[in-house]
Symmetry: C2
Subunit: 350 residues, 2 copies
């Protein structure tokens, strides 16, 4: 299948599951009291998003159980163990999306990113205090939702354990990311370790939690964890690429914001190694005054140094590694879909 | 036993368990990477504190199992079910303390309280970004630790569920508390609902989680939940009293800070109903310039209106209600201790 046709298929598949997630967010995270807190907590969740992590979780469930994609109610999903009650895989999917949403709210405060998904960030719309609390509320809600799948206790416990250790890693990764801004240089190894914790672990959780909940062999869980980790790293690297190459109107936030904020990425690190004066690319003294023309010039310099292609290639390699891990699964349409989603993460243009 | 002798006994009992908690925090929450994040995360935890919630959890465990106080290793605690492996009750106790610590860090950012336990608050010592992340790290760590008691899966799951819903309530309570600052008046009912969520639920969790983990009857868990909730409300009301009546040097933070910040409490609400101009008590336009003399005068006014006694009496009544719930437990020294701890919460002077 040529890349464009494949992209169409996978986008439809993502779209289908995104709609299911969107339709049911309200069931798992209804409005509560105080209203303002719950409005703030649901703000980013209801503003949209691609729902990539829940999609991966749901498709992984289909691949594990050899269920034809889209034919089974995710809230009554069959497990791999005979005579067992069906479980609510959608709860797990939404739990992971709720964690993602919590991290976005807190990260936006820390980075003072003003826009998110085309809407004012939560701390802009509701103030920082409520934004901190909104993130905190989603945090525990995600655990409550994950506890609601109806899976047998041993496996539910393992899923919650994965969620908890994933959250710890995410905090460590965000802390490393912030720390990098104060440093001159960051090695590729350090950068990859940072995105592993900040981004990839949640993809790993999304891919592996269905395996835990549905009762698959530990080695299958391990392979899906590695699949998720690899495509998650690739996703973050592609995100760094898109931050530079996608118009602000499509991104839903300022293009080139990473450069303006002085974030260290694989791209800036490669450019530095090629002798590019990375810190001189943008006049960061007045972030508000940075023009599109300055960003254009900076991107051209990074293109010329081969740094953007370097990142693109690294992302493609990681996706290929991730897809290799899927060999542990039976050959099904859903498994193909997981591979396509991996490719989509690095072929997407926004 | 006269109050002073009783206070001595209960203080010794708390001191004993506090030392155990202090000694073992490092085992459950060791330093990690990045170092700065873990320093910030452990800052409040290592700065001390009375460890009231973990103490209640441990003593409730003793009362449930009719274990003589202080004779059993809390990490190898017997359950109520025959032939069952021992569990790590200390993990549960520390988990609850870690949650408490996370909420303090985030609350101090929101309230901009600069001092905590006689040390600079985390956001003062490490900056707001790291403080947000430090709280977030403790949040997931608390779940990881709670998952580590070795209790049978069903019961471990219930304990984690209690922890998660408790955290959600705490966020709601803090949100209500912040919202109250913008309001003229708050009814006693609204205030009690706020402290129920913000403060009392964590006491309820501390008292009831051992019952869940050790396999007690649901009605015992329910009674301990009510005991915890009642003494937790009383604790918060007494905290409001102490904020006005205890010297800053003993409090470890500015005396009268609630008045300066315009917080609504049972005390200010009662005073308002007696015709006191509560908002005129302190010139809140310049919080830095508020003098001890102004605070003294404000407290005298509140005393004269009977508002501080009103709060003290309410706290005493709540403690009595909480202690009544303990009838469900066998008559043991540990049960007596739980009652004493309830009384201590309202008799303490700091």
């Amino acid at each position: 299948m040529d890349p464009e046709a494949r992209a169409q298929t996978v986008e439809d598949a993502i779209e289908h599951r995104r709609e299911i997630v969107n339709t049911h967010i309200d069931d798992y995270l209804p409005m509560g009291d105080p209203e303002r807190l719950y409005q703030a907590s649901r703000h980013v969740l209801l503003a949209g998003g691609k729902r990539l992590r829940p999609t991966i979780l749901l498709v992984a469930g289909e691949a594990l159980t050899e269920t034809d994609p889209g034919t089974t109610d995710y809230r009554e999903f069959p497990t791999l163990v005979e005579h067992e009650n069906r479980i609510d895989l959608l709860a797990a999917a939404i739990s992971v999306e709720v964690i993602q949403s919590f991290t976005l709210i807190h990260d936006d405060i820390m980075d003072d990113d003003r826009m998110r998904r085309g809407e004012p960030a939560v701390h802009v719309a509701f103030g920082s205090d409520t934004a901190i609390l909104a993130g905190d509320t989603l945090y525990s809600k995600a655990f409550e939702i994950m506890l609601d799948t109806g899976a047998p206790a041993e496996r539910a416990l393992e899923a919650v354990d994965t969620l908890a250790s994933t959250c710890t890693r995410i905090c460590e990764g965000q802390s490393l990311d912030i720390g990098f801004e104060e440093r001159e240089t960051v090695t590729s190894e350090e950068y990859l370790d940072m995105i592993d914790r900040k981004t990839a672990v949640l993809y790993a959780a999304a891919a592996s939690i269905p395996s835990v909940l549905l009762g698959a062999d530990p080695q299958v869980t391990e392979a899906l964890t590695e699949y998720g980790r690899s495509i998650g790293r690739a996703f973050q690297i592609q995100d760094d690429v898109l931050d530079l190459t996608t118009p602000s109107s499509v991104l839903g936030k300022q293009r080139g914001s990473d450069l303006v904020e002085g974030k260290r990425t694989l791209i800036t690190q490669h450019a530095r190694e090629q002798g590019v004066d990375v810190d001189g690319l943008i006049d960061a003294n007045d972030p508000e005054a940075v023009t599109d023309r300055e960003i254009d010039a900076a991107v051209e310099t990074l293109e010329a140094a081969g740094s953007i292609d370097y990142a693109r290639n690294m992302a493609a390699d990681l996706v290929a590694e991730g897809i290799d891990e899927l060999d542990v699964l039976p050959e099904t349409e859903a498994r193909t879909r997981l591979a396509q989603i991996g490719n989509y993460l690095v072929e997407r243009s926004y």
